[in-house]
Symmetry: C2
Subunit: 210 residues, 2 copies
DNA sequence: TCTTTTCCTGACCGTATGGTCAAGTGAAGC
DNA sequence: GCTTCACTTGACCATACGGTCAGGAAAAGA
């Protein structure tokens, strides 16, 4: 941005342009979907000629794949809260907190992911079948333990996880609808706080752990 | 399908072809998004020549608009449960029940709606600002009444509504992910029953009404 | 300084898409 | 029977898209 006219090193150039393109791509894919997005649009938003995009990313699909992987890794990392927790209140509270924060900071990534899954996960099916399946099974077992130990009500762990995903991601994926119903203004800091607290309160009371 | 070769009346032809096209369009738009869908694909799925589609629907956008309006009306109709209910348990229980049934019967419509909203609601923004806003305000007031009467815990009505939408529509919009995590098989009758019961149980306990 | 390697980009290409149209078909109305 | 009007459709068009390429610029290495 306010860069002095220092000549950039090779590696810096590569890194800088790749992230520039990836950010622009995330926005355009989120706003237009994979089919509606065009390389020209992404190039314009990144401020680069279209041919330059194809220098860094061979095809539109390659670029798209990278965008999807990015958000997936962010989500996986957020899930660490789950493991370092003593019980359901702490774990689920922290998880909701983390995922709401992600919905706020990376709404476009969330939308791209949602779009990808809705269209049958053409490029990340293997992730769903391996990484996500394993992660889900592990957390479901953890939740089942808490139930067996009487730390929470006997709810189906799988469906609880779906509810966690659905409620938190809703604030990113349907952000436009929420904004419209909020008088056309994006949620303020306080409103995000209230949203997070509402979701947490209902869910924690819902699993009989608060 | 197994139609005898009876000559069709004019009105029948129009009606039959329009619904045929609308069904095909809903599927294709859901699977590929607006940008990824092609009139040729929709035509093939409907078993009609492409030019015939443009006889009934002038443009791709017109066709798309109709598909979106369809699912919106289905949802509005499902919301009647809310009004004929005496209290929160009955109302929210019935609403979840109805919306889960819609997620099951009209997953493609739900996906098209989600996609439309995610992309900034380019064609149904006016619906959001009028019909949906009014409906939401009405139900939020209703919920607030129940809270004031001590029939449920003091949760933010707006965010409760978002949770209802998010959790129920998740089973349609992310159906592919759920199916993958379900061993690659779609949810059976019993599994849909269990899903609905899980969602209802957590939400009703969550609002302190069960 | 000279060579090599990476980076950059305007011009170009084949294809697929949304949409048009004019010519045809056959049921409705008289 | 004859006219009218809704319906049907293959062929066509302009445009826009993803992707290519050759050749130039500039940094790295010698």
């Amino acid at each position: 941005m306010a860069e002095p006219a220092r000549p950039l090193r090779r590696n810096e150039i590569r890194q800088q342009n790749e992230t520039l393109i990836l950010q622009a791509a995330e926005t355009v894919f989120a706003e237009a979907g994979f089919g509606g997005a065009t390389m020209q649009l992404i190039a314009d938003m990144a401020g680069l000629p279209k041919a330059n995009l194809h220098y860094y990313f061979a095809t539109k699909e390659d670029l798209y794949r990278r965008v999807v992987q990015n958000i997936f890794e962010i989500w996986l990392h957020a899930a660490d809260c789950f493991d370092n927790a003593a019980g359901p209140v702490e774990a689920i509270g922290a998880y909701v907190e983390a995922k709401m924060e992600i919905s706020r900071r990376h709404p476009n990534g969330s939308k791209v992911w949602a779009s990808e899954v809705m269209h049958g996960a053409p490029v990340i099916q293997d992730y769903l079948e391996t990484t996500l399946r394993d992660w889900t099974a592990g957390r479901a077992a953890l939740i089942q333990n808490w139930i067996d130990e009487g730390k929470m009500a006997p709810v189906d762990p799988q469906h609880l996880l779906y509810m966690l995903w659905a409620t938190t991601q809703h604030y990113a994926d349907f952000g436009h609808q929420i904004e419209t119903l909020n008088g056309g203004r994006p949620l303020s800091d306080a409103e995000w706080r209230a949203a997070t607290d509402s979701v947490k309160a209902i869910l924690l009371r819902g699993i009989g752990a608060a």
